[in-house]
């Protein structure tokens, strides 16, 4: 690790000031599960490190004005143990409970996972299904943008060097909305995402799909929405039978997205299984299973 000056602010304002002052050469450490490796292996050699793990004000989970608001410094474990999330957001539980290992979940933060924007990152996929926005704070003030606009792939998320990601927020689900998530990993713990599917569905009064979002994780360089698929699912009756009929379309979507990649052989087949489980979760949540 190259020498650096270490800062451990305790308020967001302090942190934002530090980032503003040192933005030319700064790294932010939250959970550290990725950054500390990069620092140790000298892939990152900043003059300053701002450790934001002491920003207690960013560890909240709340529902406010119809929005679910997650402080960026919640660890995966904290989210998994949160009663509100357990009750209202089963797909998020499904996501955070399958990240890395217990130790990684105890350290890693949800904000870090989103900012890091790894190809195989777990949470951006599900947050896209939730229709999430990110809140970015700097000394200039606050910016809010959709996660879709924010996440343009590894090392290319739209955060400015003087900004701090403080919150992930998305509309609270009504009784007619549900989200599913399923991750395929090579083993049951310490597994990176081989392939993930997340899906949002809102139903009509007569039990048809009014709106939906379909997100494929670890297919493209960032979690990918598939509008063509969403188009096909909209209007379908919300039954196992009609939803399952769309599964081959998932295969077509993967084949079209990565026609030449070696892993397409796997992903185009595995995606049906992952999508099927998302449908099952959604039907269960909507009381249709």
């Amino acid at each position: 690790m190259k020498p650096f000056t270490y800062h451990a602010p305790v308020t967001v304002a302090e942190a934002a000031a530090l980032l503003d002052r040192y933005q030319d050469s700064v790294a932010v450490v939250a959970g550290g599960t990725d950054v500390v490796i990069e620092l140790n292996e000298k892939q990152k050699t900043p003059a300053h490190v701002v450790d934001i793990s002491k920003l207690k004000e960013l560890r909240y989970v709340k529902e406010e004005d119809g929005m679910v608001k997650l402080g960026a410094l919640n660890t995966f474990t904290e989210l998994e143990n949160n009663p509100y999330i357990q009750e209202k957001l089963p797909a998020l539980i499904e996501t955070v409970s399958h990240v890395g290992s217990p130790q990684i979940r105890n350290l890693g933060t949800i904000g870090g996972n989103v900012v890091n924007a790894s190809v195989a990152g777990d949470s951006p996929t599900v947050f896209l299904a939730y229709g999430a926005q990110v809140v970015l704070q700097s000394v200039q003030g606050e910016r809010v943008m959709t996660l879709e606009d924010f996440n343009k792939g590894p090392g290319n998320c739209q955060i400015r060097p003087n900004e701090l990601l403080t919150e992930i927020r998305f509309p609270a689900l009504t009784a007619d909305e549900a989200v599913g998530y399923f991750k395929i990993g090579k083993r049951k713990s310490l597994a990176i995402v081989v392939l993930a599917v997340s899906m949002y569905i809102r139903r009509t009064a007569d039990n048809h799909v009014e709106d939906c979002r379909v997100i494929l994780g670890a297919v493209s360089k960032h979690p990918m929405r598939v509008p063509a698929l969403e188009q096909q699912i909209r209007g379908l009756e919300l039954t196992e039978e009609s939803l399952y009929e769309t599964l081959p379309l998932f295969t077509d979507a993967v084949q079209a997205a990565i026609p030449t990649r070696a892993s397409v052989v796997y992903k185009r087949e595995g995606v049906r299984g992952a999508a099927r489980r998302c449908f099952d979760q959604i039907l269960l949540q909507l009381g249709e299973a």
Binding site: K186, R187, K188, L190, V265, E269, G273, A274, R276
Partner: protein
């Protein structure tokens, strides 16, 4: 058939001698060792796979404050070639770079940070030549030669009976290709060592399975007599064969020699995996012929492997693979042709099983295919062909009374009936399968002398110092030696203190490899104890006025077998020894009773004893994701006599999980000779959540060879699970996978083959 064994100490589960310090965290591994004035050593490694060093400029590194020295091959006072069998690997590259990561220079610095900067500051100019990256290329006449004038590293031919004539008589012939990958040991502790050069003595503490071999290589490098080098095994965090070759020992010693200061080298995970040996990837073609009743008449096998840039244990792997190629079955006609090539790929060497896991994938794959072809029960067809006492092996060896393979098969089957649920999938997207795998494994080096020794002294208070060469890498040999000595002397396990793997005080132990230490060092220990006991018996016989032959030594007492009232305690006996001025000393050595193998056909007696095993795997495959869930594994092992039952079970359980990983998950990947997955995030081991329920079965036989009939289990523990897992996948999906590992991607490719 089970012999009643009335042991006082043996066969019990004892807490291993090293347990206390390991659960307290006070065990000292090599990376934990620190001395005043210690320097940090590191290695500059080649970033090309094949070529020459044209120029090396260390001036920038040497100019750094805190850099003490940079050494190259020119600084080696003695021999610059190492290797357990063939000395073909340079300690520091002199003539040629043969693999990615070859050691070019070593650096000593005052801190790890300075060391890293210094290594980065050394400039190397290379001249690259075409790397040989496949066996096919290696075999071509116009390919560059890695060593000498041919890339053929080793060839073996085994011929037993008349294979051609036998195939003509077969009702069914099964022919298949099999392929197993290069694998990494992935011991959790990366290699490390500390060298101290003081008063003309070089002492090296290291993470090793092979301290006596290390001593010889260090001495040759320094031109020292062997007795001026002391090689001490530090607590060693796993080995599995990967710590048999020289790792940091020579480099640290060379730096200590030149600087006069202690030097510690600790490899990173990446460096450790990059340059330690790998399991030989193997391509196998098998032809197996049988009668319609399932009696196998002939096996013909071709084995091809890439031993990489250096020989390491390659010659041992090829011999052992050929000898074991037909499996634990009496097959009258066997032909094996094996060829190993040198390439510029990572060095392949010893890894738990020395080629037997690879051939077991094939011979068991054939056995299972044969059972399917003949619609026979997989256990029944094995019972029909299994080795029994008196069977003749494919090297013409007539087996002794120590073969309990039948019992392994029967006990595994009985356990399966008892514990396995019906073979019914748990969900519509699951398929369930049962698989079978067996093995036999010769204990010790193949047809070669491989002795080990032991020294022992019974002290005046009836406690014992036992000194054995054998390195304990966690498997528990130290404790097994203590149990064997206690059993023979009539003392308790707690009475024995074992000093091990320290060449200053312990005799030659040979390598902790080939599942040999319980059998060989154990025999040496028994003999050492017996020698000391002889003196004790003379004194006790005179004191108790009974014949020596009538004496029983048991539970810290000595008594007359015919009149048990006539007895004395061990303390009293030691008092009598003191009065008479006698010392209870013992030394022992043991070399297994083997013969060399006839080079023409490999006939001979390669091993004194063999261990046997039979394994049944119960698993489910998710046909939507291709992921396999191994649910239950039953593994029955003929170990002769279990010295420490709990430790035997521990070996079996560890082997089972390593075996499922071999079959389903693990694989070394390379690009241009460079390993691309040398870290735990890319080379995946099973976690606690992936591990199946394991039912270890310890089968004890009536054999008389070895210490109290004990054989070996370290490597056998791994082997049968591999083919059994592959077979269970095949059973679940009705798809034959000859190539391992069977990863999720392979399953999906085959399931949805267009």
């Amino acid at each position: 058939m089970k012999m009643e064994k009335d042991f006082a100490v043996l066969g019990k589960s004892v807490v291993k001698k090293d347990t206390m310090e390991k659960v307290l965290g006070t065990a000292r591994f090599a990376a934990d060792l620190k001395m005043p004035g210690m320097l940090y050593g590191g290695v500059l490694r080649s970033t090309i796979t094949s070529g020459y060093v044209k120029a090396l400029d260390a001036s920038a590194a040497l100019a750094m404050e805190g850099v003490v020295c940079v050494l190259t091959y020119k600084d080696i006072p003695g021999k610059n070639r190492i290797g357990i069998i063939i000395k073909d690997e340079p300690i520091l590259v002199d003539d040629k770079i043969r693999r990615y990561g070859d050691a070019i220079a070593v650096v000593a610095a005052e801190s790890p940070d300075i060391l890293e900067d210094a290594l980065n500051a050394i400039r190397v100019e290379y001249e690259e030549i075409e790397p040989v990256l496949s066996m096919e290329r290696a075999a071509q006449s116009d390919s560059p030669k890695v060593h000498g004038d041919t890339n053929v590293h080793q060839v073996r031919h085994l011929e037993h009976g008349n294979v051609d004539e036998a195939f003509a008589r077969c009702d069914v012939i099964i022919e298949n290709d099999y392929e197993t990958p290069a694998l990494s040991h992935m011991f959790i502790e990366p290699d490390a060592g500390l060298a101290v050069y003081e008063n003309g003595i070089m002492t090296v503490y290291s993470s090793t399975q092979n301290p006596h071999y290390d001593r010889g290589e260090i001495a040759a490098m320094l031109n020292f007599p062997n007795n001026r080098v002391t090689s001490v095994q530090a607590a060693t965090g796993g080995g599995f064969g990967g710590k048999l070759d020289i790792s940091v020992q020579c480099h640290a010693a060379l730096l200590a020699y030149h600087t006069g200061r202690p030097v510690r080298i600790v490899r990173s995970r990446r460096e450790s995996t990059m340059v330690s040996s790998k399991r030989h990837a193997m391509k196998m073609h098998y032809k197996t012929g049988a009668t319609k009743d399932g009696k196998i008449l002939a096996v013909q096998a071709t084995l091809l492997s890439d031993t990489g840039a250096y020989a390491s244990y390659g010659p041992a792997v090829i011999t052992r693979a050929a000898v074991h190629a037909a499996g634990p079955y009496e097959i009258p006609n066997v032909r094996v042709d094996a060829t190993f090539y040198y390439t510029n790929n990572p060095m392949a060497g010893a890894f738990r099983g020395f080629g037997v896991p690879q051939v077991a994938v094939a011979h068991e794959g054939q056995m299972n295919a044969l059972a399917r072809a003949l619609n026979m029960d997989p256990i029944e067809i094995r019972l029909l062909n299994a080795h029994r006492p008196g069977s003749v092996t494919s090297t013409g060896q007539v087996l002794g009374d120590d073969v309990s393979f039948i019992q392994c098969l029967e006990q595994a089957r009985a356990k399966a009936r008892e514990v396995l649920p019906p073979c019914i999938p748990s969900a519509p997207n699951k398929r369930r399968g049962r698989g079978y795998g067996c093995m036999y494994y010769g204990v010790g080096n193949t047809g070669l002398p491989n002795p080990a020794g032991a020294f022992l002294e019974v002290l005046p208070d009836a406690s014992v110092n036992l000194m054995v060469g054998c390195a304990d890498i966690g498997q528990g040999s130290t404790s097994a030696m203590a149990q064997i000595a206690a059993e023979e002397l009539g003392l308790e396990y707690e009475d024995i203190r074992v000093t091990f793997a320290n060449t200053q005080v312990t005799p030659e132990g040979g390598a902790t490899s080939a599942s040999r230490q319980t059998f060989i060092s154990g025999s040496a220990t028994m003999l050492a104890a017996r020698m000391a006991k002889k003196t004790l018996a003379e004194v006790a016989a005179a004191f108790l006025k009974v014949p020596e032959k009538d004496l029983v030594f048991r539970h810290r007492e000595v008594y007359s077998a015919s009149d048990p009232g006539v007895r004395m305690t061990y303390r009293e006996l030691m008092g009598e020894m003191k009065r008479l001025g006698r010392l209870a000393l013992g030394c022992g050595s043991y070399n297994p009773k083997t013969t060399g193998l006839n080079p023409a056909d490999m006939s001979g007696v390669p091993f004194e004893v063999y261990s046997y095993a039979a394994t049944i795997v119960d698993l489910e495959v998710d046909v939507e994701t291709g992921l396999v869930d191994v649910l239950n594994v039953i593994s029955a092992h003929d170990v002769g006599t279990a010295v420490n039952r709990q430790a035997v079970e521990g070996q079996i359980e560890g082997g089972v999980v390593m075996g499922t990983g071999f079959a389903l998950l693990e694989k070394i990947e390379t690009k241009n000779g460079r390993i691309t997955n040398p870290v735990f995030s890319k080379y995946l081991l099973a976690t606690s959540m992936d591990a199946p329920n394991i039912y270890p079965i310890v089968v004890e036989g009536s054999g008389t060879a070895g210490p109290f009939g004990a054989k070996g289990v370290g490597e056998p523990a791994l082997i049968p699970t591999i083919p059994a897992t592959a077979d269970a996948v095949e059973d679940a999906l009705h798809i034959h996978f000859g190539r391992l590992p069977i990863q999720h991607i392979d399953i999906m490719r085959e399931l949805y083959r267009k």
